[in-house]
Symmetry: C2
Subunit: 329 residues, 2 copies
């Protein structure tokens, strides 16, 4: 099936650019309630699956063995901005494990947080691996590595941590992954269908009352994300602003190359979407539209209008804006 | 006609994201030599048409009346990085006109040049309108405004400068523009077909030996761009690096929302392309592929490989890269 028109950028009286994508809404039973484009399209979920990658950390007992609180669990599922609240927490987490920045395998990049970036730039200081937006996920990997007594190269596909991640990922998506790529942070990223990713989000949404360590872990990670939106991304970012706008009712997560997921525990629904061209602005607009459609986000909220509404130029003149394409949401 | 597959982002052994677009190669007679997607697709050329917007500046005699050199003419066609070489030149240009930063109507934004950005951020200084990537184009508009003795609101659609731009734009594209939008810099941006934009680039390519002030102006602007690639964009940017890689044989220009054009005087060919999703990485990859195809850019040149080749993550591991889609270039 072809991807569906989802988001348009208008300028003046014409559509200037257009984005196609695939999206599914799944119920707690794992069935597709609604779909656009091709539910069987295979994608890399990228960072949108960090809560899946964190399941072994919690269900193994590794998280409790070192007393990880909800803020750290949220950070394990985060693509953080590298602000002080994020880097201080990761640093303290590594200290608690008796480990250091050099034990991470995520690589270094400049933080997106304005103040943190300014601090580094203006002091001619290079960012370190703790600034990497995935350092919370990697601190989680290191926590499980220590718990399992495994070796230091925890991003290797054959490492016990990644094998545990793969097993949890395949069970929760309900699919054998057709393969994996290497993510920006050097961890394996397992491919899945849009339907599989939506099914996984619905599993997290419906985890309450289900028996077993995995369901309990899913509920804990989901609730940690909802309770600490500031840890999942950062000030000004879509995940943080939209979760706050929904009053903590919904957990959402972005992934590179325009993937976005949402977990709606009250409705016991899961959402997964991918914009085929990888345009993040369109993934943010599309998840905004679907959350509005499902009644959990106010279309008039500033956080919603920032992703799906009028745009102004450098002199404040309205030039156009992002809209949903006919037939989508 | 539907847009054509043009650029793919691969990760591991699968295509992660894909970009569709429209492109034409036109000869000096204005005929389409080759096309992908729909040559009749209507687009906003955005900054890719700055050399068209500069035609009235030169053909009116306004540029010579104030002795604009080739560096300033290149800057009139530029989306510059706001580096010192750009901002010092615009400031000197305005001084020469007896005008000031406040006379500009482009608005202010942070420069993309790293050193300039660092200088402003670390001294807590706000950028001014001279930092706007379009300030050279606007200095050109002000030069023509003064020459015509017109009013200060030179970005108004009814202003003599914009009426002169519209007339030149329509004559060189060979089409009546179906309308205009307001650009990021507040100037009107006239819509055209991809074929019309390609025809305009072929006009610039074949301007030598043609009679009249317009053809002479087109050749001068084109040659100013080729002689001063550093003024057209900035260090590290696609226009500057690719023009240098081609040894000044070709003039190229990017436009917002993934438009790219090229002027090939030796071949008397013009190229215009638009990636429908507005993804700049794909527009840069697509123009790179077409310039390689036409034999003016070496596929192995670092500037080409940077836009169309393998990508590495934060730890230097190759994760995949951008490729041309089957059937394109």
């Amino acid at each position: 099936m072809e991807p569906a028109p989802m988001i348009e950028l208008w300028r003046g009286d014409r559509c200037e650019s257009a984005h196609l994508g695939h999206a599914v809404i799944c119920d707690a039973g794992g069935d597709i309630v609604e779909a656009w484009g091709d539910p069987d399209a295979l994608i890399y979920p990228r960072s949108s699956c960090k809560m899946l990658q964190a399941l072994p950390l919690v269900e193994s007992g590794a998280a409790d063995a070192v007393g990880l609180d909800a803020r750290r669990l949220a950070l394990a599922c985060a693509s953080h901005s590298g602000a002080a609240i994020h880097t201080d927490t990761v640093r303290g987490w590594l200290d608690g494990l008796g480990l250091a920045e050099a034990d991470l395998r995520c690589g270094s990049h400049m933080p997106s947080d304005k103040e943190a970036m300014k601090g580094l730039m203006c002091s001619d200081t290079s960012p370190c691996q703790i600034h990497n937006n995935c350092s919370g996920k990697h601190a989680g990997f290191l926590t499980l590595t220590k718990h399992l007594g495994a070796g230091p190269e925890y991003v290797d596909l054959a490492h016990p941590v990644q094998q545990a991640v793969r097993a949890a990922f395949e069970e929760v998506t309900g699919e054998a992954s057709p393969g994996n790529g290497i993510d920006g942070c050097s961890a394996p990223n397992f491919a899945t269908s849009i339907a599989g990713l939506g099914r996984a989000m619905a599993y997290f949404a419906g985890a309450d009352g289900k028996a077993g360590a995995r369901a309990a872990a899913a509920a804990r990670l989901r609730d940690a994300m909802r309770a600490h939106p500031e840890m999942v991304a950062g000030e000004g970012r879509a995940c943080t602003e939209l979760m706050r706008a929904m009053g903590g009712r919904v957990a959402i997560k972005t992934g590179a190359e325009a993937v976005f997921v949402a977990i709606l525990p009250e409705q016991r629904l899961g959402i997964a979407l991918k914009i085929v061209d990888g345009g993040t602005r369109a993934a943010e607009a599309a998840i905004t539209a679907l959350l509005i459609r499902l009644g959990v986000l106010d279309a008039a909220h500033p956080a919603a209008l920032k992703r799906l509404g009028p745009e102004r130029n450098w002199r404040g003149i309205e030039t156009g804006g992002l809209r949903t394409a006919p037939g989508f949401a």
